[in-house]
Subunit: 647 residues, 2 copies
């Protein structure tokens, strides 16, 4: 939602003769962007453009001056877009603003009764926060460059401006190091990015107005480092990519000689001014168990492991400063010994973000934006970096809150399904960070999210289409009508319940090809059904149109298990979903019976209701890591049927 | 369907530990193929493979010797595949046979109640014809290399071995010529393949066991040639890419000096032994109108334009021979003055193919395999190169029939929808050319085609998914349930009716973004519905299961227009489909009423039936270039209702 919108009258038709003219600054990335823009508009509309010679341009684009060779935090992204019935004008101080404005133009294109068109409108827009990012973890499961690229296209479409690349963790070191080649050679399963690929990706992101901030997570989360270089570890090992909990040893000078060379290499490879060193979840066991480290702590007047980590971070910070980088890390790096120039990324919450700001540190919010927790979009949408603890900050302290980042941790994603875990939900985090805090109407958000989701598919993202293919694989057939009925109303368990439910540690090489891996994190069908039930109940059972729609859904579900059962039975991937299918059918039948009671103005019998509630309770328990999301609204119908006769 | 199949007992499980070992010949294309094979198997199953060190390979692959550097017509493609409950062995004389056998293995993988598995089986297989191809026209609409590549993946999956690249025609010259750069520069809209891209594509196809046969269509279909080189034309011009009907002038020696250089350049670029010079549909108007050409015909003792074309072809043939190429052309090149080495590709029919064979010429069948005519798969499946006129040939004459090619002419396709025009129907032409002529059970074909269609999507082909996106574009929404109901039962008009229906000449730059461009050439739903009606009627109206299914469909259609109407009305792309939607609903209602009469053992009233027949007749007329394919089975229900009371 732009900062300022004024509707005009009329529409600008998008025809075969659509054309773009560029005036002002001739940044090369601007020419490439206008070409991409036209290709994208052509894809969205199916119209191959054939501008007529001598005809005035449909859209004129004007940037006052060029952009920075290395995109800067806070670089001007504002733009003004004016669309009339005959032409459109997009002005911006920099090409970055043009990038943002062109995405707005694409979002405005609609099919109408008279062809594709953009409504006449005047938009003045700029972002609320200068740092709006998405973290993608490529360590737990490697994400190939082409998948990273299409996700960058998605980020550009929703006007985010940072991709935070979580490049190393216990399970894999994903960057080629020429200085220390055993990092990627022994610290990965052979899947990593070459330095050429990294450069290619950074250029790709830069073209789209997106900064690439690398993260190398140390001193914890560092198993992949010590396979090739065990001398970095605080413990004796042995370590493999699957076993051991090493922490880097901050007491040896050799560690810093290593990091000095390594960080210099990476600082050259990644041009962004910011460099993320992780620093989260340092499990102190190896430090506690190492007498030399314990002695170091004592002899240096430190109180505990936290002080030791702060010492480590101070050393890192000096190396990074020498390499002209600003250090960024998770909450745990916050320590009075560190200079105020560092930036703290909060996975713990607004409180720790506010605490950092009060102490003079800049910060980013990620708590509340973890896409891997499988929350509905509305829940992420409600999280504001400036709310809760941050609400009491002074204006100066508030200015230290730079923005936030959604996080896609990769324990449970593969290149096949990562898009559907990120999209479309990431778009609501993007809006939270771009638009005014007052923009928070949930119904409007979902309506616009649906439109954005459609546009994103034209970029090649597979967030919707992958489910279909994965379901066909499980069914061994293209005929998946009944399977889709079930898939459309279930969601994966929330938060870290999938971890809790897994027996023992996660096997990062296990296939992720079950229903839980294919379904969307949020069920549109269930949300819409819940709204229908609410409408119906609020009408006192009088809204016949709502009731008819509710009945159609309930009947579909009631009859579905009979159709689906043979498919589930014959597939090892689907057998675990049999109880879900049965529960859905039972819920359909129960809901229909409840409606019958309501229609007849009869109270449903207590005994029947008790029996049905057992069923609903059962349906609300996870099966195969999945939740039947229509159980709750059916429960509401049951409750309403109890009092139907008493009105 | 393989040449020989013997079922065994048990299944070979496909687990995470699946591995491949290669013995015998170490052709480099073989290593790449086994890697691709494993990646494809991984995609199909969603299993990332982790072979255990020291464990015996699941599948052992053995080729006796290497393959030709330039793939030869008739090179051995046979293979033997033996699968037991514990391992599989694939043997072949050449790596080409291995390529084919690995595709068979992929087709055998099924999801079972105990995981993915391949049934125990012994297969001995080889193709019936040595030339099994697909022509792709890239002139009328340019098809980018990536789209060509994924279609080559499809060809490999169905064991075809030739891609016939129709590279020039009136509307575009699509190859970079360094000798005559105005060919691609002025003879195209800027979209052409560079020579590097051509080489890349040929290597890509070679890796998959597919020959690339180029076609440059002359002396007709040559408008794109004469824009840059008007001296080649037989008329005075002027010509543009959109206007004029030039033919190349065969009477000037300068023409042959041009072709001598050009063909030498292209002969170097395309390594295949065969070279296609088109030669079809030479419209003699420019020859007739040119006194010099008429005089040439007379002075050289020729009778007519056909003789002149034969003279031209003889000259071409000599140039090609000098460049070590065998000339290939359409029916029209057949002329007693041409040597028996040339190959004739028949677009006219088996008769002309047989005639060529009798005269000692080799031939290929394409008549009956034109995918752009929108025929159902079964109709292509019924066409056999050896049937009809060819059935009476002697064994020696029969041996001259090398195989055939499906043809995808590109008047009405774009990169977006070309996959759905080619696939899955092309797979039935592939089977016709690979398998024994006795393999022709249509029900079995459709069942297997459905499975192949699913596999093809894992290659990245968009033959099924594109429809969904295109419908969403037309509707301007992701909610296309009702639109899909309509889209699933309509088919584009057949043969050249779309041309006849277009006002004036085709505008090759017009958007192809209407319903006719999105729907599949063949409606599975309509075919299945017709079968249901047949089953029901043959049971004398007693098959209640069939009737219940028929009623479900009919009710869905009857109720659909109400839901769909608002969507159709607000989209300029869909308004033209309003009558179709109304007709479908009326057919649904009529069919249900007919069933009611049949159920009650009542004859339906004549007046009612007459009224309904008007409706059915109306529904059988094309609207917006589309046919409602369920009109005919509804008509059968109406007819049955007439006699229902009289049994």
């Amino acid at each position: 939602m732009p900062a300022g919108v004024q509707s005009g009258t009329g529409v600008l038709p998008i025809t075969q003769f659509f054309s773009v003219a560029v005036s002002g600054s001739r940044d090369p990335s601007l020419d490439r962007e206008t070409q991409r823009f036209q290709a994208q508009l052509s894809r969205q509309t199916g119209i191959p453009f054939r501008p007529q010679a001598g005809q005035a341009a449909t859209l004129t684009v004007h940037a006052d001056h060029g952009r920075e060779a290395i995109q800067k935090l806070g670089e001007d992204e504002s733009y003004e877009l004016t669309v009339s019935g005959s032409s459109a004008q997009l002005n911006a101080p920099t090409p970055l603003g043009i990038l943002r404005g062109l995405q707005t133009f694409l979002q405005l294109v609609q099919i109408t009764a008279n062809g594709f068109a953009v409504p006449a409108i005047t938009i003045k827009d700029q972002p609320r926060f200068p740092w709006r990012g998405l973290l993608i973890d490529v360590s737990r499961h490697f994400i190939p460059l082409e998948v990273m690229k299409r996700n960058v296209d998605g980020l550009a479409a929703v006007k985010m401006n940072v991709v935070h690349w979580h490049l190393s963790d216990d399970q894999g070191f994903r960057v080629e190091s020429k200085v220390f080649p055993k990092l990627h050679e022994m610290g990965s399963d052979g899947m990593y990015y070459t330095q050429d690929e990294i450069r290619e990706f950074i250029a790709y992101a830069h073209d789209r107005g997106i900064r690439v901030v690398p993260e190398f997570d140390i001193p914890g989360h560092s198993r992949s480092w010590v396979i090739g270089y065990p001398e970095l570890a605080s413990g004796p090992g042995p370590y493999t990519l699957e076993t051991g909990d090493p922490i880097i040893d901050p007491t040896r000078e050799s560690t810093y000689r290593f990091l000095d060379k390594f960080l210099a290499e990476m600082a050259r490879l990644f041009p962004d001014a910011y460099f993320h060193i992780g620093g989260d979840e340092v499990d102190g066991k190896e430090w506690d168990a190492n007498p030399k480290i314990k002695e170091f702590i004592q002899s240096h007047g430190m109180k505990n492991n936290q002080d030791l980590q702060a010492y480590f971070n101070q050393r890192l910070q000096k190396i990074l400063t020498k390499n002209h980088k600003i250090m960024l890390g998770w909450d745990e790096i916050l320590h009075p010994d560190l200079p105020k120039t560092i930036v703290v990324q909060s996975w713990r919450g607004q409180e720790s973000l506010a605490a950092a700001a009060r102490q003079g540190y800049s910060g980013l919010l990620s708590h509340g934006y973890y896409l891997d927790l499988m929350w509905p979009a509305a829940r992420h949408y409600a999280v504001d970096p400036m709310s809760d603890a941050a609400a009491t900050l002074t204006p100066e302290e508030r200015s230290r809150i730079l923005g936030g980042e959604a996080c896609q941790w990769a324990e449970w994603v593969t290149p096949e399904n990562i898009d559907s875990h990120i999209w479309p939900r990431n778009a609501v985090v993007a809006e939270r960070l771009w638009s005014a805090s007052e923009v928070k109407d949930v119904a409007s958000m979902y309506a616009r999210l649906n439109a954005v989701s459609l546009d994103l598919e034209w970029l090649g993202l597979t967030h919707r289409s992958a489910r279909q293919q994965m379901l066909q694989r499980m069914a061994g057939s293209t005929d998946i009508t009944a399977l889709q009925v079930l898939a459309a109303v279930v969601e994966p368990v929330k938060d870290y319940s999938r971890w809790d439910g897994s027996k023992g540690p996660i096997d990062f090489h296990a296939p992720l090809n079950h229903m839980i891996d294919a379904v969307y994190p949020e069920s549109d069908t269930a949300r819409q059904f819940a709204t229908l039930v609410q409408t119906f109940l609020q009408s006192g059972g009088k809204d016949q149109s709502a009731e008819a729609q509710i009945r159609t859904w309930l009947a579909l579900w009631r009859d579905n298990d009979t159709k689906l059962h043979p498919t589930l039975e014959q597939s090892s991937l689907l057998q675990e979903d049999e109880p879900l299918s049965q529960e859905l059918s039972a819920l359909g039948a129960a809901g229909l019976q409840a409606l019958d009671y309501i229609d007849k103005w009869q109270s449903s019998p207590d005994a029947w209701r008790t029996q049905q509630s057992v069923l609903v309770d059962q349906a609300q328990k996870p099966e195969a890591g999945l939740l039947v999301m229509v159980a709750m609204p059916v429960q509401q119908l049951l409750e309403a049927s109890a009092v139907a006769g008493r009105n």
